[in-house]
């Protein structure tokens, strides 16, 4: 009997409601006090193709998706064929045999249980439309897992709350019919999985794109500009929907070049500003990014990576942009790059990014990827007071007036950071200049001035100092093998470390920041006997970054670059081989 340890997957063509049913099931579990992690795969098209959504449900906090599927909801035949190798003895498949020609006997031979639910027919008869087939399968899932139907009923009501009431009630009817069909036609106890509600704090079911948006709002970001690009677009959707009631202006601009220039205009006027895109969009922003470097404009840039080069695999995950963002923008200037490891880190690091960018008056990047930016995790509410707001050296009206004509936007100071006046403040003239400039802002090409300004800009990052996150060690300090990773590999690694098949003693050093390298990098890796880099790109880019920054060599690399995230089971296998 397997209680509260369940991996569910639904597959079907785009347009079949795979994504919405996945999220509804995730919430039906999380609302019952269970922990979830979900993961979806889809091609870059609107109709057809093959979409999947999997939800792993557990009694304790989970960090990544699972390979072996306990119950597969196959909305079409392809879903069975594609995922047959993920099914094992005891797994179940919900399908509608009226639409599936697949040889069912072979499933039974493997010990896979077949639950034949005529969901197309039921949807049409009960709900009035085949489109509700996915809802019927959700009901069937609830019955098979012995999960309380009320959680599904409530989430359906919430899901359709902005639509005509009849839509929710028809969907509930469809779900109920699926639920009843299983109960009437199958012995549910033969399916060995149970989902039971447990006591827990209320949990959000959020992606890193959600938490980046929430982090920005909590930081007091009031201007967000973007041009849609997968997998960053949902930040735009979230902020467009939620931002205005928090006083935010969201602008879908004509292109990414406009986006990054516009955000700098808003920031210059004194408003906390953010932009988000993926690699291709960020490539278009390069000159504007460099502009923020020399004009010393505060700006948070979110880059949600997908597989490149160019259009690449638009809807798949990758960490291939690391060196690109490290070197982004022509010319030399410092930037801070955060790399959140999960949905929770994404909230706090985004918030922190707003403080850092205003303190050092240089752009800060939040580097995410499709994997965490589109996967949901159940997490408790965030502590909205934890980071706080620090706007750096912004002058008040009175301070500005006092300085008057003597105000220098690029004044040479001990820490390299100059007082920042805002347009509209009386007495001062704001002069931001993309030409090399003197302290006042005037274009100036003399040798001494150039040397002074370069030195000034190079000093600034030190002011971020202790506010920057350290590298973090997970697991036993004395372990012989140290896994090293940055960003989204954190989840699968943490889960792999808990896996009972893992034969080696390992610990994990996580980098939530890739530029500058955390101050404790050398120390934390000093005792490592064998360093194993785990990264989702083909060139092991972080190995070069680590070597360049510390002289430390990576001993072994586990890389994946097929657009898919690591699975803990695969990591365990690879680590055991070392």
């Amino acid at each position: 009997m397997k209680i509260n340890n369940f991996n569910w997957k639904i597959g079907g063509p785009a347009g079949f409601g795979v994504m919405s049913s996945g999220l509804m099931f995730a919430k039906a579990c999380s609302r019952a006090g269970l922990f979830i992690h979900d993961y979806s795969e889809y091609p870059s098209l609107i109709r057809g193709g093959h979409n999947t959504y999997q939800v792993y449900v557990s009694e304790k906090q989970v960090h990544s998706q699972r390979k072996i599927v306990d119950l597969l909801v196959a909305l079409n035949e392809q879903s069975i064929i594609e995922h047959l190798d993920e099914l094992v003895k005891g797994s179940g498949v919900i399908c509608d045999s009226a639409k599936v020609l697949f040889d069912k006997k072979s499933l039974k031979k493997k010990g896979i249980m077949l639950f034949d639910v005529p969901f197309n027919k039921i949807a049409k008869e009960v709900g009035g439309d085949e489109i509700m087939r996915n809802t019927v399968t959700l009901g069937a899932t609830m019955a098979l897992t012995k999960h309380d139907f009320k959680y599904l009923e409530k989430i359906i009501n919430d899901q359709f709350s902005d639509k005509d009431k009849s839509i929710a009630s028809q969907n509930i009817k469809a779900a109920r019919a699926g639920f009843d069909f299983i109960k009437e036609n199958y012995n549910i106890d033969s399916f060995d999985f149970f989902l039971q509600a447990q006591n827990n704090k209320p949990q959000m079911v959020v992606t890193a794109n959600d938490t980046i948006a929430l982090g920005a709002l909590n930081a007091g970001c009031k201007f967000y500009a973007a041009y849609p690009m997968t997998p960053a677009s949902s930040i735009l959707h979230t902020l467009a929907a939620r931002g205005p009631k928090h006083g935010m202006v969201v602008r879908h601009a004509e292109d990414e070049i406009s986006v990054i220039n516009m955000a700098q205009g808003a920031s210059t006027a004194g408003v906390r500003s953010m932009v988000a895109t993926s690699g291709g969009g960020f490539a278009l922003m390069m000159e504007g990014f460099s502009l923020a470097g020399i004009t010393e404009t505060a700006l948070v840039v979110v880059e949600v990576m997908r597989s490149g080069p160019a259009t690449g695999l638009p809807t798949w995950t990758d960490q291939g942009d690391l060196k690109f963002v490290l070197g982004a923008g022509h010319g030399e200037f410092d930037r801070v790059i955060f790399a959140p490891g999960d949905q929770e880190e994404a909230f706090y690091l985004t918030e922190l990014a707003f403080n850092i960018t205003e303190i050092i008056q240089s752009p800060v990047i939040v580097l995410s990827d499709k994997y965490i930016s589109e996967s949901h995790l159940s997490i408790p509410f965030f502590d909205t007071k934890k980071i706080g707001i620090d706007r750096g050296k912004i002058l008040t009206e009175t301070e500005a007036k006092k300085l008057g004509d003597k105000y220098k936007r690029y004044q040479l100071t001990k820490d390299g950071i100059s007082p920042r006046a805002l347009p509209g403040q009386e007495g001062v003239r704001i002069f931001l200049n993309s030409d090399e400039h003197d302290e006042m802002g005037y274009s100036e090409e003399s040798i001494q001035n150039r040397l002074d300004q370069v030195a000034k800009r190079a000093k600034k990052i030190k002011a971020a100092g202790k506010l920057l996150p350290p590298a973090k060690l997970y697991g036993d300090k004395t372990a012989k093998i140290t896994l090293v990773g940055w960003g989204s590999v954190k989840g699968p690694i943490l889960d792999a470390m808990q896996n009972q098949d893992l034969k080696k003693k390992v610990n994990y050093v996580h980098f939530p920041m890739v530029a500058p390298l955390p101050a404790n990098t050398k120390n934390i890796l000093a005792k490592s006997k064998k360093i194993v880099l785990i990264e989702t790109n083909s060139q092991a880019q972080f190995a070069d970054v680590l070597r360049a920054g510390t002289g430390i060599e990576v001993d072994h690399k586990i890389l994946r670059f097929d657009g898919r995230p690591f699975y803990q089971s695969e990591l365990v296998k690879e680590i055991n081989k070392i």
Partner: protein, 285 residues
Amino acid sequence: MKKPNDFNTTHEPTWCPGCGNFGLWGAFKQALAELDIPRHKIFGSYGIGCSSNGANFTKINVFHGLHGRPLPVAEGVKMANHDLTVIALGGDGDGFGEGGNHFMHACRANHDIAYFVHDNQIYGLTTGQTSPTSAKGIKSKSNPLGAIDRPVNPIALALSLGATFVARGFTGDIPHLAKLMKAAIKHKGFGFVDILQPCFTFNKHNTHQYFRERVYKLAGNDTSDFDKAQKLAREWDREDKIPLGIFFQNESEPVFHEQLPQLTKETLIKKKLPVNLKPDFQSYI
């Protein structure tokens, strides 16, 4: 009341002797002086080029940004603080070449900003290449056999894109140009002025004399008549006559920031930073 010279900085202009930019700069300062807006409330967003070197010489708040990008910066400033008077300035290469996409969308967005294009039909700062407004056949360093493309018609373009204020000025008539600039700044919406500005050093075709022989001032034209404006916009192409003045103006179109409900009570810069996210968290359960 301010005088034009109150807008001088400590830095002297670096334009060639006789450059049309002097006239443009003079007219700009005169317009600003006459408008009598406090200097700290004026924001100039400059591109890159001879035109935009004016950032160094003009005592207003300035963002001297990138080639082709003065408009997005200006729009960002305006959305963040719509109490500021925001003016974008750049050249013809900047506005109709590198920044063409921004021009298209600025016209239709109707931000309450002015946009002054120093249109000298040549690239000056890069020492004389064909610009988007160079006449067909004009020889330059980048098209030694003569320009193949026909020139952009900025007036017709702005009209077709829905700009709500479309005018053409000439640096040979500073008082008239100052008047147009003033009207563009005062205009409620996107105030576009294409400014003919001879480049004596690199443009041997569109000289001061060339313009003198062709320009005439529009008088008594109905600026609310869009169709008439479109016809006038084609006069330079068809009849070799260059009308100066306001072609079209429409103030009934709402400006961009006034259509954002969150900006009706206060500017964005005045918003309190801390927010209550509890209901948002709740909605993710």
